[in-house]
């Protein structure tokens, strides 16, 4: 059923490892190795990105099911297959991953000076894991990639991070691992019941409500940490603060999406009754995330921490959207995930720009940059406004669709869940004012340089995408429209069956 005559998803997944092999084969002076590693990583990731554009072109938007399916026998005795495929929900995340990696490599061009080769290898391995995770159609394969993401990220934070990198990396690793282990147990339980780990089959397997409850809680432990949902979010600010810029971009851009993706891929379609049962609980946590973390963001003195907390608030909107179980809510959540991937990534890059120059993330150390850095001020303004959810930028459509979806559930959910409209504006404008506006008072800022051509090359595509997603979001929502519709229908049908059964028993 594949629209291209080669296994594109496996190619995208494993091509980075070819780049790794190339980088490993380079020998010579340190400087030469570093330079070659950079170029090799950039070229590899660019080629992968170009190939992934085929998905954009060839993907059949009217088909709600999985496409580009590849299957290979793996362990048939236990029902394990190597199966890849994407549907409307995952295809754009594959592209988000392939698009952000070259940007991260470019962003790390000058700021990473030690162990450049290893850094580039870690990034390419990370790309393998991310792409593999979003395209896996077998639960076991998914699990392997899902956990595999941890390793390169752990190294990126732990080796190239800031002063408290080891603490942050360990915290990140243990926190997420603890959750994932419960998911493994749930996975085994499902395999035991269904006799297979094929995701498509599992989606059409009905589990009894009691079983669903336990499975849901196990999944929740894993995904809620990844999202991250309040109160399991505290690993994120530390990880962001310590991670190098490229690491932060991937962390915010892709890794945070893994939890929400998990909810969409597993919890909601496979465990409809439990999802419906726990929805109010999720709403409550999400509203707390939206309001509480936004306020905490306001109090921050470290730029990266501020944006990290804002990510938690934005992801709160995503979880509200997913658990509204209606087309607007889920579409909005998906769009918000994509836009947050682009916008939060860009904001971390913005922080990286000044960090590379002044080597501090302390907000109070800055001020008045607009005079010396007009191009930077413009880029920062755009991404800030996108983060605030200004219509015409990427941040709006998702937030608004979630608002509509939430309104169908409850007035208060919509109103409180959208409180970020006000709070987000407060902390972002306050941040912008302290960094960009005002006049320069510190000597070291007087000579600060505006964006270099390399940095403009990083920001230009992100700015274009940010505006494109704001002006013409349909070009993205069209990808998942059919899949979301099918998902909503599936969910309602499943709930109807359960209530009918309950009626019979009564």
């Amino acid at each position: 059923m594949s629209q291209v005559d080669f296994p594109i998803l496996s190619l995208l997944t494993f091509l980075p490892l070819v780049g790794v092999a190339v980088i490993l084969s380079v020998r010579g002076e340190d400087a030469v190795v570093a330079s070659n590693a950079r170029w090799a990583a950039l070229w590899t990731s660019m080629i992968i990105f170009l190939i992934s554009l085929l998905l954009w072109v060839k993907f059949d938007q009217s088909n709600p099911g999985f496409q580009f399916i590849e299957t290979a026998e793996w362990l048939p005795q236990v029902g394990l297959t190597y199966k890849m495929g994407v549907d409307g929900i995952s295809v754009l995340f594959v592209m988000l991953s392939t698009a952000l990696v070259p940007i991260c490599i470019l962003a790390s061009w000058e700021s990473i000076t030690v162990r450049v080769r290893e850094y580039m290898i870690a990034f390419l391995v990370l790309e393998t894991m991310m792409v593999g995770m979003f395209s896996a159609l077998d639960f076991m394969v998914f699990y392997i990639f899902f956990e595999g993401v941890l390793i390169p990220m752990y190294l990126i934070i732990g080796i190239w991070g800031g002063p408290r990198r080891v603490y942050a990396a360990l915290k990140f690793f243990l926190y997420t691992l603890a959750g994932s282990l419960l998911m493994l147990i749930a996975l085994l339980a499902m395999w035991d019941k269904a006799g297979t780990t094929d995701i498509v089959t599992l989606m059409h397997t009905t589990f009894s409500p009691q079983v669903q409850t336990w499975l849901f809680l196990a999944f929740f432990a894993s995904f809620a940490v990844k999202v991250p949902m309040w109160p399991l979010h505290t690993w994120l600010p530390d990880a962001h603060v310590e991670a190098p810029t490229g690491g932060s971009v991937i962390l915010a851009g892709v890794l945070l999406k893994m939890g929400a993706y998990g909810f969409l891929r597993f919890s909601v379609p496979m465990l409809p009754d439990a999802s419906a049962k726990f929805a109010p609980f999720i709403y409550a946590l999400s509203i707390v995330a939206v309001i509480y973390t936004a306020l905490v963001a306001l109090a921050q003195t470290d730029m990266k921490k501020l944006i990290a907390y804002s990510s938690v608030a934005h992801m709160g909107v995503v979880t509200i959207g997913i658990f509204t179980f209606n087309a607007q809510g889920i579409s909005g959540a998906l769009f918000q995930m994509l836009s947050h991937g682009v916008v939060a990534g860009s904001l971390f890059l913005c922080v990286g720009v000044v960090y590379d120059r002044i080597h501090t993330r302390e907000i109070a150390r800055y001020g008045g940059l607009a005079d010396r850095m007009p191009a930077y001020a413009l880029a920062f303004m755009l991404f800030m406004m996108a983060s605030v959810g200004l219509p015409g930028t990427a941040g709006f459509a998702g937030e608004f669709l979630v608002l509509v979806g939430a309104f169908k559930v409850s007035f208060w959910l919509a109103l409180l869940g959208s409180a970020g409209m006000i709070l987000g504006a407060i902390y972002m404008l306050y941040l912008y004012r302290r960094i960009i506006f005002g006049s320069i008072t510190r000597a070291d800022l007087r000579g600060i340089l505006d964006l270099s051509p390399r940095e403009i090359a990083i920001f230009a595509p992100l700015a274009v995408v940010t505006l494109w997603m704001g002006v013409y979001p349909s070009s993205f929502t069209n990808f998942f429209e059919a899949s979301v519709a099918a998902m909503v229908e599936h969910h309602q049908a499943a709930l109807a069956v359960t209530s009918k059964l309950a009626g019979v028993i009564r």
């Binding site: 915290k171 243990l174 926190y175 309040w230 109160p231 979010h233 505290t234 509480y292 306020l295 905490v296 306001l298 109090a299 921050q300 209606n326 087309a327 607007q328 579409s331 909005g332 008045g368 607009a370 005079d371 007009p374 413009l378 406004m385 200004l390 219509p391 015409g392 459509a397 608004f400 669709l401 608002l403 509509v404 939430a406 309104f407 169908k408 007035f411 919509a414 109103l415 959208s418 409180a419 409209m421 006000i422 504006a425 407060i426 404008l429 306050y430 004012r433 960009i436 506006f437 005002g438 002006v471 013409y472 979001p473 349909s474 929502t477 069209n478 429209e481 979301v484 519709a485 909503v488």
Partner: protein, 641 residues
């Protein structure tokens, strides 16, 4: 098509100035943005004439799909009807004049290209707002003017006060916007669409729908009406959410003119008229609109009487006039509300640009206490101020007379409690308006010069690029009222408005207006003239009286002078608690939420350190423990077998 050009040309100018104007220089940026604006004005006027006089059919120009998710579908589309073309014609004309004026006013600025880019962006956003064919696109323009006002108020970003004012404007507006957005969601849930055509076609069908909120059932139209009006309160600076408007004076004066006259603040009034088919079936919400509008008109007028900053006085007068417009909308006289909006745009732009001309002449002095005695030195500006103030005070036959009178008549004719409240508020405000307008004029132009010698020597009439826009605006301030009142408000108002404004069959307020007693008709004019006379007595002939009054009625004076202490109140109940809560929650996050996993980690490490002690390394100990274990196991096996 012409409409599309009128809307898009300013955007093009803005982008051009931002990216290319910066490289090619200020002259190019100015020329490009002004050319685009003039083009937009020509297209805007032409489509106005085509629709109103040429008999062109109203319609919708679709530009493509925007947001869609299942049954939620929204297009980029421009609505071509009387409401939108009236606004487009007014906005493009006034904005063009402000652009031209800015060439002179901003000539000493460092980043002229940036200023013109923002101005055009502002105009574009407003045009998108007024031509929107659905609520979401209206919201796009709504937020767009919010962004542009933020950029322009904070234009001089090296001044801390400007930065604060810019943030304040954006954030206060966002409070209203949140309710507006929720209101849009409710419209969608009710009607299944947010396109105006679909909503208006289904008005009858959902008449008696109920919505449960706040523990009671309300008619859904009432809830929608209140939510949308809460949004309008933010943008149009109504009592409670008005605090950003006076501070918006931090921006350059042409910006104030654009924000207060042609764009932005009128958006809320426009929204009420745009949604008239729905609002007219929500009498409860309309009552609320009237009460808030009337209160704002009176409140702002009382504050304007004691301010000393020339721009602040005019800012509060804007606030007050917006209140009038909401009173009109609230009693169902949307036509009168729009009429006042249009006439107000001209005379308020005239007053602001006139104030700019004064400030320019006085070497950037804004405090009226340091002006005076300059009317002979800048005679054209002086005359312009007279015209603007006569229009503002509602003296016949100037523009404001027709529109303001109509509003008060409508409020009286509505025969409702809220309408009468609006009427009395408006009547008192009319007196105060005339009073503070002439107070402003006398303090600014007459009396002994209070500025220092150096400033006085430099007082000069503004260059022609600034004077010509003033002259053109004064034409509008004189004639728009007389020229259009019959068409817009007369018995044949449907000829002009078409289906752009629709009212319920029970709404006869326009007809009843004709029947109100002549006392009501003449009262505002008489009170206006009295206000002018009082101002002359107070500030021209007996300047010691206001000083005495301020001393004798100290608390009242200070209450007005400090703007009813709204800023202090909000600082105490919103700003400081929020900041305190933010800090407190951060502590909670670090100590408790993060403390738990860290505590578990610490427990594990210290536990491990204890357990290490068991690992003695002595083989004898290990063997002994093992032996005990084996004995235990075997023993239990034997026992429980």
């Amino acid at each position: 098509m012409l409409l599309a050009i009128a809307v898009m040309a300013p955007l093009f100018g803005s982008i051009f100035a931002l990216f290319i104007g910066r490289i090619l220089g200020d002259r190019t940026a100015q020329a490009a943005t002004i050319a685009c604006m003039v083009l937009a004005a020509i297209c805007g006027m032409t489509s106005f004439v085509e629709l109103i006089y040429g008999g062109a059919a109203p319609g919708v120009v679709s530009l493509g799909s925007w947001v869609s998710a299942s049954d939620f579908h929204v297009d980029w589309a421009l609505r071509f009807d009387a409401l939108s073309v009236s606004m487009v014609a007014m906005v493009t004309c006034v904005a063009s004049l402000i652009h031209i004026y800015s060439v002179g006013y901003m000539s000493h600025d460092k980043t002229i290209w940036r200023f013109f880019s923002y101005l055009s962006l502002f105009t574009f956003a407003m045009l998108m707002l007024v031509t929107a064919d659905n609520l979401l696109q209206l919201f796009f323009g709504w937020e767009g003017v919010g962004l542009a006002s933020y950029l322009l108020i904070g234009y001089w970003y090296d001044r801390p006060s400007a930065c604060v004012a810019a943030m304040k404007a954006f954030i206060v507006n966002r409070v209203g916007d949140l309710f507006f957005a929720v209101g849009i969601a409710l419209v969608f849930v009710t009607f299944g669409s947010i396109e105006f055509t679909d909503i208006f076609a289904a008005i009858q069908r959902h008449q008696s729908d109920m919505y449960h909120v706040l523990g009671a059932d309300f008619r859904v139209y009432e809830v929608i009406g209140v939510l949308l009006f809460l949004g309008a309160m933010g943008k149009s600076a109504q009592l409670g959410l008005h605090v950003w408007l006076p501070d918006a004076m931090e921006g350059p004066t042409p910006v104030s003119a654009l924000i207060h006259a042609a764009t932005m603040v009128t958006a809320g009034v426009f929204l009420m008229s745009r949604m008239s088919p729905l609002m007219d079936y929500a009498p409860g919400a309309l009552g609320f609109v009237t009460v808030v509008g009337g209160s704002t008109a009176l409140f702002a007028a009382t504050v304007a009487c004691t301010q000393n900053d020339i721009k602040r006085v005019i800012a509060y007068s804007t606030c007050s006039q917006l209140g009038y417009m909401f009173v009109a909308a609230g009693v169902g006289a949307y036509q009168a509300s729009m009429f006042h909006l249009l006439t107000h745009a001209f005379f308020k732009a005239l007053l602001f640009l006139g104030a700019g001309s004064v400030i320019h002449a006085m070497s950037d002095e804004q405090d009226m206490r340091r002006m005076g005695g300059i009317w002979k030195l800048i005679p054209i500006t002086y005359v312009m101020f007279w015209i603007g103030n006569l229009a503002l005070a509602g003296v016949p036959p100037f523009a404001g007379f027709y529109s303001k009178d109509a509003i008060l008549e409508a409020a009286w004719a509505s025969h409702s409690l809220s309408g009468h409240y609006g009427f009395w508020c408006g009547l008192i405000a009319a007196f105060l308006t005339a009073f503070y307008s002439w107070r402003l004029m006398i303090m600014t132009f007459h009396g002994a010069p209070r500025a220092d010698r150096n400033t006085m020597e430099h007082v000069h009439e503004s260059p022609w690029v600034m004077v010509v826009p003033l002259l053109l605006l004064s034409v509008g301030a004189v004639f728009t009222g007389y020229a259009f009142h019959e068409q817009i408000l007369g018995a044949d108002w449907r000829e002009y408005w078409g289906t752009a404004i629709q009212i319920a069959p029970t709404n006869h307020v326009l007809l009843r207006m004709e029947e109100v007693s002549s006392l009501v008709t003449f009262a505002p004019t008489v009170l206006g003239l009295a206000g002018i006379a009082l101002a002359y007595v107070f500030y021209m002939f007996k300047p010691e009286i206001p000083v005495m009054i301020a001393e004798k009625f100290g608390p009242i004076y200070r209450f007005s002078y400090n703007k009813w202490y709204f800023d202090e109140l909000y600082a105490a109940i919103f700003v400081r608690p929020t900041l305190w809560l933010a800090k407190a929650l951060w502590q909670v996050d670090a100590d408790i939420v993060d403390g738990m996993p860290n505590g578990v980690a610490a427990l594990t490490t210290s536990g491990a350190q204890q357990i290490i002690k068991i690992q003695t390394g002595s083989i004898a100990t290990y063997a002994f423990v093992m032996l005990i274990g084996v004995v235990g196991l075997v023993g239990s096996f034997l026992i429980f077998r």
